[in-house]
């Protein structure tokens, strides 16, 4: 029998049992729909995190004290203070592949301005920090190298801090006290918003590194060093140069391990997306199982259909249908059922991904490959689960089929 006739016969039989066909397809619809939704949301949130990390800075290299490879009895990364302002100066002087370098000295504390107070982190940085981390000044100005040298008590506020402490007035030129040390506000940073991991990137105060180091911190160690490589192609070379410079500065011999760790953005992205990746995989496999259940549903209905249509099969065989014609007829019917289900599933999956994405504030990324795989997979499900009932129909003896009541 010609292929287009097979399709017409299959469509007629599907249309004859609309409700049953719909229920059969439901399993596939739910399966495909949830796979599409999960993958779209998973990839979307991954993309969100990537964008966040990229917005952390350009060609960013982050140095943390202590070994990154935590093991044995040593504490984790950052547990051992080992970075100092001397390291920062060495990098600034000698590194050829680093465009900007800045220390990060952090202190936590209560900040008071007039009647308002707010608990936040004060980060001491160099003026280059603005470029390294892609911050913009909204109003006022940023501090200079001179301010750093003179340990000037000036501060630049993030949007959240500015709103909390100065709800009704412009903060620029105002005074505030951080752990009883008086500071003058000279600028406010442009809003960066929430990161995809949920922390408020505007809840910060920036001040000159030396000021924070000597007035608010221990005066010896810095928490991190942020640097920016000259170009993205030179990231690895810059990382190697930075490592070599710090090792020589720390007088480490060849058999000593690094007492600091360097991470670039790719690694940060990897770590951040590991969790969402695992979650996506888990949810997708749950969705995959429902696809399998949908396939079994198709097999079930096809078996019922073969039994119900035994006489019809007998008639077709008697007037000269080859067993292969019968096999093809039922396979095409199963494939059409699952393909229809798959298409509806894709549409509803895309819709659901979009709706849930809107609701949770996650972007949904539609991956054409995944859609294609879903389509191929569903037709595969239809054909493979339709095969057993179809073969059963094709192997019927014409006379027995005709006698079937």
């Amino acid at each position: 029998m010609k292929f287009h006739k097979l399709i017409i016969v299959a469509l007629k039989s599907i249309a004859r049992n609309k409700m049953r066909s719909l229920l059969t397809m439901l399993g596939v619809i739910i399966g495909v729909g949830s796979v599409i939704t999960m993958v779209a949301l998973g990839e979307g949130s991954q993309k969100d995190i990537e964008n966040d990390v990229v917005s952390l800075g350009t060609n960013l290299l982050m140095v943390r004290p202590g070994s990154i490879k935590s093991g044995g009895v040593r504490g984790g990364a950052g547990s051992r203070p080992s970075l100092s302002m001397k390291d920062v100066s060495r990098l600034k002087q000698s590194a050829t592949l680093l465009r900007w370098v800045s220390a990060e000295v952090r202190a936590n504390g209560q900040v008071i301005a007039g009647n308002n107070n707010w608990n936040t982190t004060i980060t001491g940085v160099a003026p280059e920090y603005l470029s390294i981390r892609n911050y913009q000044i909204a109003t006022g100005s940023f501090f200079t190298h001179r301010d750093c040298k003179t340990r000037a008590k000036v501060a630049v506020l993030g949007k959240t801090v500015a709103d909390e402490l100065f709800p009704n007035e412009s903060p620029v030129g105002a005074r505030l006290r951080i752990r009883n040390v008086p500071f003058m506000v000279i600028g406010v940073l442009a809003e960066k918003g929430q990161s995809s991991m949920g922390n408020d990137q505007d809840d910060i105060i920036l001040a000159p590194d030396s000021t924070v180091l000597f007035r608010l911190s221990n005066g010896k160690f810095v928490n991190d060093i942020s640097a920016s490589a000259v170009s993205s192609e030179q990231m690895d070379a810059a990382k190697a140069e930075l490592t070599a410079l710090l090792r020589s500065e720390h007088r480490l011999t060849a058999k000593d391990e690094d007492d600091f760790g360097v991470r670039d953005q790719t690694e940060i992205i990897e770590i951040a997306t590991q969790v969402t990746g695992t979650l996506t995989l888990l949810l997708s496999s749950v969705a995959g199982v429902s696809l399998l259940v949908g396939g079994i549903g198709i097999m079930n209905i096809m078996l019922v259909s073969v039994t119900e249509r035994t006489r019809e099969i007998g008639i077709r065989l008697a007037i000269g249908a080859r067993p292969f014609d019968i096999l093809a007829q039922f396979l095409v019917e199963a494939a059409i059922l699952s393909l229809f289900g798959g298409l509806i599933g894709i549409l509803s999956g895309l819709g659901a991904a979009w709706a849930v994405g809107m609701l949770l504030g996650v972007s949904a990324v539609i991956n054409p490959t995944v859609v294609l795989i879903a389509v191929l997979f569903t037709s595969g499900v239809g054909v493979s689960f339709g095969f057993y009932p179809a073969r059963k129909a094709a192997n019927l003896n014409p006379i027995e089929a005709l006698r079937y009541e």
Binding site: R311, G314, A318, G320, A321, D325, N397
Partner: protein
């Protein structure tokens, strides 16, 4: 001149239902020559349908040989048997066996959709022609449940005719028809027979058998009688007589 088209030798068909064995055919040998019009008679349960099913390649003998136009049927596989049914044989069943919820025209077209060689150039046109042959040209789009028993029988005959088979096997084709329609069908059969078609027809009625050229009678799965009808009746003339 006439060639042997069908040759059955010592054909047995035994049905086993659990322990019980029913011998439906107990060694039937029969030669059918092309251009014959054979009436098969016998009481109910004598094995007529069983014989027809074997002749129609729908069932295979338990033992014995069946050769159809020189082909040993027992050596063919399911696909080859299907092709044989499709191209060489036309079968009219005792119980019509039309596809339900499918129009008369589509039912008649069905065998041609399984013909790989597209022997019939224009299936639609041939189907309408076949339905006109059996007097149903104004019932083309009726479904089986909208047709009377006799009309369904005639759709089944049209379906058997349309592929231009060499042999038509009809299991009580006139069982559900009134005497006038019976005559019309017999007239059609005789006309096709004169054009060279071989016909094997099961009937209960001696009157109907009188239109054939040869009469075969079965009893308990064995041949009881096999004789030529010396002066077959002419359905065309009988029709005219009824009309006048």
């Amino acid at each position: 001149m006439r060639s042997e088209q069908i040759c059955l030798s010592q054909v047995k068909k035994i049905f086993s239902i659990g322990e019980n064995k029913v011998e439906a055919l107990g060694g039937v040998s029969l030669s059918i020559y092309s251009g014959e019009f054979i009436a098969v008679m016998g009481s109910s349960g004598s094995g007529k349908s069983t014989l027809m099913n074997i002749l129609g390649c729908l069932d295979i003998p338990t033992s014995g040989n069946y050769s159809l136009e020189g082909l040993a049927v027992e050596d063919l596989n399911r696909t080859e048997l299907a092709d044989l049914r499709n191209t060489k044989l036309g079968f009219v069943f005792q119980g019509f066996n039309l596809l339900p919820r499918t129009t008369a025209l589509e039912n008649v077209e069905l065998p041609m959709s399984y013909d790989r060689h597209c022997r019939i150039a224009n299936p639609r046109k041939s189907s309408i022609e076949a339905l006109r042959h059996v007097g149903l040209e104004n019932r083309l789009n009726h479904e089986p449940n909208q047709l009377s028993g006799g009309q369904q029988q005639r759709v089944a005959i049209a379906r058997a005719l349309v592929t231009e088979p060499a042999i038509i096997l009809a299991d009580e084709p006139t069982g559900n028809l009134d005497s006038h329609t019976t005559l019309e069908i017999l007239e059609l059969f005789q006309r096709l027979n004169r054009e060279g078609l071989t016909l094997v027809m099961v009937t209960h009625e001696t009157e109907v058998a009188e239109y054939a050229t040869r009469l075969v009678e079965l009893r308990d799965g064995r041949l009881l009688k096999d004789e030529a009808v010396l002066t077959p009746r002419n359905a065309e003339e009988d029709l005219k007589r009824v009309a006048s």
